[in-house]
């Protein structure tokens, strides 16, 4: 499939900020399931920092906007050719050992309910089957409901609540997989999701679980599937914060308003 992305994030400051610094993970890496045809990231009045590929294989670039600044627009436009790899991340150049993804973070800290969920897979011997089972269990345990949680909601809190969005599904699956001894990580990206008629955010997130012999395999409990050719992968991390497409800080008196528009479309072939 050929997918186009048009992603605009606009920051407005009630009182001008003295300066803005951002770290972007906004450029997809090419791998077996995705080939970047064209891709540009622009930041209004921004100065680009050096770009590099980190140990996890993600492209990272810093940006700075000298102040005073009252409005900054980050625009991402690009085209990616995707193919269905049944969720398996193939041909992705990375160096970070999978074992690093066994450590928990604030957002994925285990509790007894998460341990009980992970424990349901105890009898499953094959790691791949176990990952599928956990993904299904998470999908059953958390009902998709925007607004029920915030970006700061932890896996334990989301599971207790039983409702949430893709970030919560991913966090709960990651926490459960790590409890079951499987390295797991958070993936941020885009989803072309108008095809199935359901309402989804085009800026999406899911989880990857490391299966020995197969490598990293994506699971999207929010959609009860593995990522396929509708998905564009941007980058990964231990949790949502660590994998965030944009991390930034504005130096100034505060008062930031944020507006995000994301459109992912399929190009007719």
């Amino acid at each position: 499939m050929i997918l186009t992305v048009d992603h605009v994030t606009c920051y407005r400051y009630v009182r001008p900020a003295r300066a803005l610094v951002q770290s972007h993970r906004l450029m997809p890496s090419s791998c077996a399931g995705q080939r970047v045809v064209d891709w540009t990231v622009t930041v209004s009045d921004g100065i680009a920092g050096g770009a590099f590929r980190d140990g996890a294989g993600d492209w990272i670039q810093g940006w700075t906007v000298p102040g005073p600044v009252s409005e900054v627009t980050v625009s991402v436009k690009g085209t990616v050719e995707t193919s269905d790899q049944a969720g398996v991340l193939r041909g992705h150049r990375e160096l970070t050992p999978a074992e690093c993804y066994l450590q928990s973070t604030t957002a994925t800290k285990p509790d007894s309910a998460l341990a009980a969920l992970a424990g349901q897979g105890q009898a499953v011997a094959e790691p791949l089957d176990l990952a599928h089972l956990l993904s299904d269990l998470v999908a059953d345990a958390i009902q998709y409901q925007p607004g029920a949680t915030t970006p700061a909601t932890t896996a334990a809190e989301a599971l207790a609540l039983g409702r949430g969005v893709c970030q919560d599904h991913a966090h709960v699956l990651i926490a459960a997989a790590r409890l079951a001894g499987l390295p797991a990580r958070y993936v941020s990206g885009y989803l072309f999701a108008t095809a199935d008629g359901r309402d989804h955010d085009a800026a999406h997130a899911w989880a990857e679980v490391h299966v020995r012999g197969l490598g990293w395999v994506g699971f999207d409990p929010a959609n009860r599937c593995c990522p396929d050719d509708r998905y564009i992968r941007l980058g990964s991390g231990l949790d949502a914060q660590d994998a965030a497409p944009i991390r930034g800080i504005a130096r100034g008196p505060g008062g930031e308003r944020l507006e995000v528009q994301v459109a992912v479309q399929a190009v007719q072939q």
């Binding site: 300066a19 610094v21 951002q22 770290s23 100065i47 680009a48 920092g49 050096g50 770009a51 590099f52 590929r53 980190d54 140990g55 996890a56 990272i60 670039q61 810093g62 700075t64 000298p66 160096l95 970070t96 050992p97 074992e99 690093c100 066994l102 450590q103 231990l238 914060q241 991390r247 930034g248 800080i249 130096r251």
Partner: protein
Amino acid sequence: MAANGYFNEMFEKGRVRPPYRQLEDWTRSMPAELREMKQAEAEALFRRIGITFAVYGEGGDPDRLIPFDMFPRVFTAREWARLERGIKQRARALNAFLVDVYGRGEIVRAGRIPGRLVYRNAAYEKAVVGFVPPKGVYSHVVGIDLVRTGPDEFFVLEDNCRTPSGVSYMLENREIMMRMFPELFRENRIEPVDSYPEKLRRTLASVAPAKCERDPTVVLLTPGHFNSAYYEHSFLADLMGVELVEGADLFVEGEYVYMRTTEGPKRVDVIYRRIDDAFIDPLCFRPDSMLGVPGLMDVYRSGGVTICSAPGAGVADDKAVYTYVPEMIRFYLGEEPLLNNVPTWQCAKADDLAHVLAHLPDLVVKEVHGSGGYGMLVGPKSSSEQIAAFRARIEADPGNYIAQPTLALSTTPTFVNEGIAPRHVDLRPYCLVGERVELVPGGLTRVALTEGSLVVNSSQGGGVKDTWVLAE
């Protein structure tokens, strides 16, 4: 060894060992009143300089003066040459290990160290995987804590690869001794240590990023004046002739880091930071940190600035990883270790745990991530109640503890109220690693001032001494 089982560095079999010969006359010719006067003078000097910080981030009262003992600790040129080779070997291996585990991890693949200890270590920084710092150096100042148990027996207690502190004591102790006893420095040929700041500056400049095409600008980044080692930060910056900055003095723009100056922004090439990894960049590590510089890690990883020590260096000085340093020396350098590790039992291993619990009265037990002499048990010096209480702590969380035999730490003569008496000492030399590996002949000697005590930490009644290396 002396009759009491401890090696006395000055007296051996009733005779004065060669390095201390001149000092014997010196002490004999010093009446008690003069000694007391000199001691008061030394204290006044330390107060005036303002060097009152806790060594090694031990906490405690930051304004408390660490006791200075005027009796120097002395090494011969031959003794030092041997130590120097061992220290440099260790510093090279530790850096090779860091480059490896953030690269292909050959030592783990070869099964020489368990991956779990490295990759699941809290000090392992995923953010720097795949990045090789300039000249392949992660730890630019390696502080290696040594103890001596005999004429030719030294053991490494621990390695400090992040920001080992205390070097200002090495310099100030010497400065004060030279002011108070100039005759000693005429009568003895003592290797100078005052070149340390310049050597440190050269080391830092030698690892400037490839993008830097001029004389590199080096700065020292401090968390601020409330930090217990702030004195050392300002002291070193001053002696090196570099700016002392806080996070707010630096900012990122485009591909580089700049320092705010009265003449406008100035590009910074090398940052000698005395701030922990977690606080240096809120965009990469702790988002709530106000001490660091937002965006710094992106500039660092794209080669715009060098951070010393490199983020992630802490994985090499973890107490569980310590056990494998001799293995690192064999693996990377193809050499046999010149300095010994203290045999260490890891309570995380069932067999080791059983041994430790069965021999608590003979062992020293430490927390894996502990420092400053807190949270440790010195078996032979503890009551049965203290041992029982510590046993319960180990059993509750074995993975948090390691144990070592109680070492017979050497003693050196020390001025005490009754005159001169032997007290136990350790040694921390500071090895510089840049384009070259260098070691100033000397270090910081800590002394346990309490009679019989083996704990040299200043928070537990320890003091410091000037450390001499005699010229050939």
